[in-house]
Amino acid sequence: MNAIVSIRDVVKEYQLGTTVVQALRGVSLEVQKGEFLSIAGPSGSGKTTLLNLIGCVDTATRGVVEVAGKDTAKLSERELTDLRLNTIGFIFQSFNLVSVLTLFQNVEFPLLLQRKLGAKERRDKVMQLLEQVGLHTHAKHRPSELSGGQRQRVAVARALVTDPLLVLADEPTANLDSTTGNQIIDLMKTLNQQKGTTFIFSTHDHKVMQHANAVIRLADGKVLERVSAREAVEHALSLGEAPQAEARA
């Protein structure tokens, strides 16, 4: 069994006053270990909702969500939290670093929650990751002293510090310019190849999409198809978007 995420017939409904909004209408999909998978789709198609369910920060209305072989519906709040801590890393669109902590402390935080490593081991681990994202010289800075791209690199380091099996990123580049966005995706890709960490990220930018092994196309709360990155980019371009000079196939 190599599926790290397995979703079957998942429905997610939101109650908006008296009306019920179906954000996901029967989604099924499997993600294999080591994948670098993109979730694409127009605004409102359910990308964030899907990632939240996989990330165990929200629960499905119906259907089965299995992460790392565990049926998340059967876990207690405490067990879900432990699953998030030990198995999943998060990269957020708006970075979500703790403003009162230094970069070092932000990255160290999940390790403190885990209580597995001693101070020296934690230090080595954090510094190694900060070096990998190119910010070891800024370890004592606060997030407010950094650019958006730098902050997102810290977030990448924080997501990876616990060596999670799975990293989820909801539009990690949406708040960055395209060059910086590309650097973040390159960084994620490198870590994916070096460590074999599974990445699932959402985007509606085809330049970002093209780095993925595969793309899940969502529309209107449903999976349209699972395609290769090339096909996904071609599809996006066929919708009338002009090809960009720096776009690589």
Binding site: T81, E108, L112
Partner: protein, 437 residues
Amino acid sequence: MTIFDPMMWLIAFRSLFQHRIRTSLLGGAIAVVTALLVALAGIYVGMKETLLVSATTLMSGHVNVAGFYKSTASSSSPVVTQYKQLMEIVRRDVKDLDYVVQRGRGWAKLISDSGSMQVGIGGIDIANEPGFLKVVNLKSGSLDDLKRPDGLLLFEEQAKKLDVKVGDRLTFSAPTYKGTNNTIDVTVVAIAGNIGMLSSWNTFMNDQGLRKLYQLNDETTGALQIYLKDLSKLRPVQEGLRKSFAEAGFELLDNDPRPFWMKFDGVNRESWTGQKLDITNWEDETAFVQWFVTILTVAATTLIFVLTVIIGVGIMNVMWISIRERTREIGTLRAVGMQRRSVLAMFVTEGFLLGLMGTGLGVLIGGALTAALNAAAIQLPKGAQLVLMSEKLIVTPTPGWIVFAIGFITGAITLISIIPSFRAARLKPVTAMSHVG
């Protein structure tokens, strides 16, 4: 992550620091309440101690051995015969004894050139009363001159009424216990600052002089005033003395916790004659002023309570705001893997830290306030002077009260912070993260 992780404290401390203005306002409010509590407690303790020292030194001792001598069934004198033997027993049997003195009691007419007044007289053996010098605030003359058999100490109020000064001669006139009237001449050797209601009706004179006025022998006095090293031993000492005196053949009145001057009627109605002893303590003898301390305590407690509630509501509101502002951060931390109870602990730590810093500051302010009040030597209002037997406000800070102030207020703040923190911890991570504002 638990409260034992330095990171928890770091986040709490830095979050407080990040919102410096809000933290200063809240911490300031907490500090003010703490300072008030410390100062009020100091005033309370100061008053109680002043009262204790004044009352015990001037009037009763810690334990008081007095009594009545009745030559006939219906005429009683507030005297103790054979006091020297009693003193021996006290010195022998009271383990916690600091010292013991004898004090004569009298009630006589004091006559000057320009007027007269009825006063009480304490017959004092000044050489053996080290505490007396500390309590009495001498304005003119010399306490040492009370060693003269005709030496008399007046309080300012009395001196003014009689229009006399140090060196002036006056006359005491009193009925002796044998039924005849006697007079003696006395000289004002000292004038002291007023000490509460005592200064309106009581004077002090040389104990030999007082015996001469009443034609008493050397073995007779008004009461023994016993001073203990440990005040918590009052009851056992009283019990022990009752036994010792009874064994030595002395008769005793039943235990009656009232001041001696309220007992004449009862004693006169009883049929016995001769000497009976009466053992009381300072609280019995000064029961009529204790109510003041009680009212003071109740008032201070109410004030503190109301202030704490007001501050508590304020803190709760600010905590709500603070937590609402940080909802996204909470969501992030929960998503990253922080347990609910850790989130709760994180905010409670913040409340605790705020409380600790606020009360710490408050204790400093309270200490400064106490020092300032003492330095200012504030004149007490007349009414308070009367019951407290002190002219000046004395504030005595005690470690116990300071620890209590810190513990009580910090505890209250921490408890209050639990409620909003609990709500924050229960939020779904996704709800918290999508929170705007």
